[in-house]
């Protein structure tokens, strides 16, 4: 498991360098063949027995912020990159730019808020990043427009086999994919660490174009809605209940026969699974299945609470179940006669 290292790296969509470099080094360590494509996807190849072309995808990028303006007092105005949960931004610690300048997201104090403003989450244009400077010039020495900003959030293991960190969506997928590549299975697959999923499944599209997979397996951190106020039928996935298999989302109607096959593999191997029961959201599968002549796809996800915030929570048991299930699915699809 590489989650501590992976979640503490910065990799906002379009600027995945740190994550990519980490993955490249790991791939060298385990002696796995790979190349980097034009958009920055890492495409690794695990050679082995082969019936079909399998592409296993996990995205490297995370949601974050980007600097758009520095005001006369040296405070930084920013925009969201990807679907940031605006409610959680205020009072967060962030790291700005390549030099990781520490900053805090601030707004005017609660005493100064009008009645209407109190009790509501502030929209992004009312927030700013404070890096402790007090002039435009001083800030400009440290930060430029276009610098990416990511949350600062330590990886923590706590409670009953739970983990907390930022960017679990989708460093959990990256970590599992690295583990799968380390296993040196006698089953052929491409392990693709994609870029720019959070801004519209962009990396996966070009990667699938190159590889023309017959089967795409997408490893994701997905939304868990197992909070007490949510009705049972709205709980998209439940943390601790195993690998989540998607049936439909905004980007893909999954081939139900393929999904049921994966469920059967889980049952046969005593792997805990659940269905992801929401029609909303979307992931790299949406791009992969529609590329060129088309492909079968399946999404195997780890439920994450508080996703797209700086403090996502996931279960190590779910992680293990996704890892085991993905391995079995690859082996089953590439087994000999």
């Amino acid at each position: 498991m590489f989650l501590k290292e992976l979640t503490e790296l910065s990799g906002v969509s379009g600027y995945e360098y740190e994550v990519r470099n980490y993955i490249k080094n790991k791939l060298k360590e385990i002696d796995c063949e790979y190349y980097i494509d034009k958009l920055g996807n890492v495409i690794a190849h695990n050679k082995g027995r082969k019936n079909k072309t399998i592409m296993v995808a996990a995205h490297m990028d995370e949601v974050g912020l980007i600097v758009r303006q520095i005001d006369s007092k040296g405070l930084i105005k920013f925009e969201a990159v990807g679907g940031i949960d605006q409610r959680v931004l205020n009072s967060k610690v962030v790291l700005v730019g390549d030099n990781k300048i520490p900053g805090v997201i601030g707004s005017k104090a609660v005493h100064l808020m009008s009645k209407e403003e109190r009790g509501k989450s502030l929209p992004i244009d009312k927030l700013y990043i404070d890096i402790g400077t007090d002039s435009k010039e001083e800030t400009e020495k440290l930060v430029s427009i276009g610098d990416y900003v990511s949350f600062k959030s330590d990886y923590v293991e706590f409670g009953d086999n739970m983990i907390k960190g930022k960017a679990l969506d989708d460093r959990v997928g990256c970590s599992i994919l690295l583990e799968l590549l380390s296993m040196k299975l006698d089953a052929d697959f491409y392990g693709v660490f994609t870029v720019m999923e959070e801004v519209g499944l962009r990396g996966a599209e070009t990667a699938a174009y190159q590889l023309e997979p017959d089967l795409g397996i997408v490893l994701e951190g997905t939304v868990s809605a197992d909070m007490p106020e949510v009705e049972d039928y709205y709980k998209t996935t439940i943390i601790g209940k195993g690998a989540a298999l998607s049936i439909m989302d905004n980007a893909t109607v999954y081939d139900i026969d393929v999904v049921r096959e994966v469920a059967k593999i889980a049952e046969d191997n005593n792997i805990q699974y659940q269905y992801r029961t929401s029609g909303a959201g979307g992931n790299d599968a949406g791009a992969i299945h529609k590329t060129k002549k088309g492909a079968k796809v399946v999404s195997i996800s780890i439920p994450c609470r508080y996703i797209h915030s700086s403090v996502s929570v996931a279960s190590k048991n779910d992680y293990e179940n996704v890892l085991r299930l993905t391995k079995e699915v690859i082996l089953e699809n590439q087994k000999g006669d």
Binding site: Y233, I247, V253, G279
Partner: protein
């Protein structure tokens, strides 16, 4: 002569987006003796070919229909669901639905004070079974269901479910059975997953790589009380599309379809749709680009269990498809 038996079979066949197996099998059965080649691609598109050495033409009508997908089966034996394709909660109340296995259910709502606030989450399916174990065994998360409604026909019109786009499939099947004598290399595609974003047409367009593409699909009309302002009407003939949200029809394709209509005495009307899109959307952007157009069937009450179209319009559309295939 309108082939009522075929239209009824097509309308009654189960096939929501992503679950097109039965409708695909039905169409294969219907056309296999008339085509030179027939294949199914990875997403499930049915691609039938009448071989030729000339221009490569692709017709596309989608097989899938709108429906619902089960997201939760509760302890009491009720099913929760979400929509597959363009359906609104307020249009679903009280409707009868049917699953692939033939089991049925009716759409009920939780008690609501404010009807305007009705959302999909407040609706559930009652499958009329008190044996909870039976419900658990026979209804699973991921199962889909579609409208159940009786096919009905008058002298002029058909009222049925899934006219969108089984009437397009009907038109392609009838055109294919009377394929013109031509050098053109013609592909009749029965596509999947149009209702969730024209996904099948994207991959089929890529595989076929045609010189010309024409989608055959239903369009809205402006001829009912309080309807949208739109020129298209029932009995106005085949509708030649000019634009919708997914496509501005290539002027040469529009001109060609107009020319063919006039030359062959085919009744036609022009269509500008201010919403929606068809298979021609992704196809015309495929690879280096494909000049594309749409022949539309004027249809009232779209995306409901009773869509209404005119049999005369359908005949005109068949003639126009044949003319385009042979041009």
């Amino acid at each position: 002569m309108f082939n009522s038996e075929l239209m009824k079979k097509l309308s009654d066949c189960f096939g929501p987006s992503g679950r097109e197996k039965y409708i695909r099998e039905l169409i294969i059965d219907e056309i296999k003796d008339y085509v030179d080649e027939i294949s199914t691609d990875p997403l499930g598109n049915l691609i039938a070919r009448k071989k030729g050495s000339g221009k490569k033409i692709m017709f596309s009508a989608h097989m899938d229909q709108i429906g619902l997908i089960v997201t939760h089966v509760d302890e009491k034996g009720f099913l929760r669901f979400t929509n597959v394709g363009g359906l609104k909660a307020k249009n679903l109340l009280g409707l009868h639905m049917v699953f692939a296995n033939g089991l049925e259910g009716v759409i009920c709502q939780e008690e609501l004070k404010d009807k305007e606030k009705l959302t999909m989450g407040k609706l559930f399916l009652d499958v009329g079974v008190t044996d909870k174990e039976f419900v658990k065994q026979n209804f699973r998360v991921g199962d889909m269901c579609v409208f159940k409604s009786q096919y009905y026909e008058t002298e002029d019109c058909v009222i049925c479910k899934a006219a969108d786009d089984r009437v397009g499939c009907y038109i392609l099947i009838e055109a294919l059975k009377n394929h013109p004598n031509t050098d053109n290399d013609v592909y009749y595609v029965f596509s999947v997953q149009e209702e969730v974003g024209c996904r099948g047409a994207k991959t089929a367009g890529y595989s076929i790589n045609p010189d010309l593409a024409i989608a055959v699909d239903v369009t809205a009309t402006g001829d009912t009380p309080d309807e949208i302002i739109m020129e298209v009407k029932l009995d106005g003939g085949a509708a030649i599309k000019i634009k919708d949200n997914s496509l501005i029809v290539h002027p040469e394709v529009k001109d060609m379809l107009t020319y063919l209509s006039e030359k062959n005495n085919i009744k036609y009307q022009y269509e500008i749709l201010e919403f929606g899109g068809t298979d021609a959307g992704p196809i015309h952007l495929s690879r280096e680009g494909v000049p594309s157009g749409v022949i539309s069937i004027p249809t009232r009450n779209l995306h409901t269990s009773g869509e209404i179209f005119s049999k005369k319009d359908v005949e005109e559309c068949i003639k126009l498809v044949r003319a385009a295939a042979g041009h």
